[in-house]
Amino acid sequence: MLRYTIRRLVQLVGVVLVLSMLLFAWLRLLPGGPVSALLGERATPESREALTKQLGLDQPIFVQYFKFLGRAATGDFGVSTGVQPGDSALEIFLQRFPATIELSFFAILIAIAVGVPLGYLAAKRRGGWFDNLSVIGSLIGVAVPVFFLAYLLKDVASSALGLPSQGRQDAIDATRVTGFFTLDGLITGEIDATLNALEHLILPAIALATIPFAVIFRITRAAVLDVLDEDFVRTAESKGLTAPVIRRRHVLRNAMLPVVTTIGLQTGALLSGAVLTEKVFSFAGVGQALAIGFERRDYPVLLLLIIMATIVYVVVNLLVDLSYALIDPRIRTR
């Protein structure tokens, strides 16, 4: 287990290095590059040359890359030019990451809370109208562009339900401790701040939940179908166990194994979806920073955030794999 973890982490370092190298090189090769970003093309040839020298962009690209790595090692990933101009990219990431974690957490929570029971029911009633309807529903869910759904929620549901449709919190004087707004309120006892933050989470979390929901639903359904066909379920029935015990202990405990893996894979979808959802809901998370970064071509921020997204994605999947080992005795006790 330990060796496996270490191997995966070493792989991750390799991936990050390769990725950062590719991104770095590509960004440097773009017409204009940082000089254009800073001078906004006002540049006269002279000022362009001066700035190129000043920033050391005239050096060979691998020299620049190693310098970048050196700075990165000290936490300096460059300065934002568009998202929060002047702020360090790392600061932007650290400040916004809790927001995205919060949002993704609630999204996946909703997706599980709805997807698993629905998937179970659909499997139990395989071929029935409920099954067909929910399968088609989940396929439609996949076919709807996330940002369109987000706009629908924002423009229609927010006024109908009286829910806030932008930002992470109203301008209430909340104390900041962790950067997780829902937690901060609980820690400081400012329950209103927590509630307010939660209200702000509902609509974006629902919008973001659609992608993982569809997948979790379908995986649950398939897994339950598989498990229901298993002999041990028949054994459980032959023991006269009550339906809830069979469902919980015998069906779901087995069916959840592939679902857990899926949840790990959904981190990717969540990160990508957060870019769209956070943009729609002006939710100050990493996704919004990415969206603004793309729009305004804020390359230092993009470089860091893409690398961070990769790390998060890989690490979450590693954690899921490890937790999979914990919940599946066949792997744990091997």
Partner: protein, 332 residues
Amino acid sequence: MALLEVRDLSVVFQRKGEAPFHAVDGVSFDVEPGQTVGLVGESGCGKSVTSLAIMGLLPKRGAKVTGSVTYDGTDLLKLSDKQMRDKRGSELGMVFQDPLSSLNPVVPIGLQVTEVLERHRGLARKEAMIEAKDLLDKVGIPDPNRRLKEYPHQLSGGMRQRALIAIALACRPKLLIADEPTTALDVTIQAQILSLMKELVQDLGTALVMITHDLGVVAGLCDEVNVLYGGKVVEKAMRHRLFAEPRHPYTHGLLASIPRLDAPRGEKLTPIKGSVADNIPWTSACAFAPRCPNALDVCRSVTPAEEDQLGRLLRCHNPVVPGTPAAEEVPV
């Protein structure tokens, strides 16, 4: 009165858009308390479906069960789902074929034993654990305390089957159905399991329905044997009688296809030709006719009726003449 009276049991599978399939077609047999009854036949003959029908484990949708299964005076087929759950595991136990797939891979053996005790005997987990340990002990699992905490994949095949038997017998059921309990096991272990079952059944006075395709198993265990073909009982007799003089060509064929140590050297084995897939429906013929060496024209046009021949039931237009040795005389 018999402990279990199965009367005219039929199971029809009906899938949307497909022709109905008669898996079990009017099967009747009795099981007396303490008696061991065998249901024998090739796979697909309906023996497993019969057992599932008795246990009420067939899917609600898609499987139509008719007839009656009277256990201890009550028709199991008429019971509600809840009443049936109360009976299963406590009065009716069942052991399945593949011990690995029949045990939940992610639940420790201990819990899989205790849950049935908790369910039917209302024991608390702790008490149940103690009892479970005794049970494992009784079925011959060494070091039961450790095994209770282990998962199925950590046990050997034989031990898994022992565990399954422990589960099935945990509440001392009056009737145990064993569906090919030894098929998935090594030959040496098969014998151990069979003798264990025999021992336990005798100790507990449990009636046993043994479902198998293996006449060897039947020979060692059963009092009465029902030979099934195509969903119908084609021959029913006490063990000795059946083995001594099989009348139905199918039974005859089955026996003939067993290698015998006492057979003269060089004697050919006589497999039954064809396979179950060659069946024709019972509706206006004998389902076995296409494969039957004794088949007459009437076999292909008239459904044979069940005839009682001095305690032996037979469903055949042209039974094998007693004393006929297998092989040579049968035109292949």
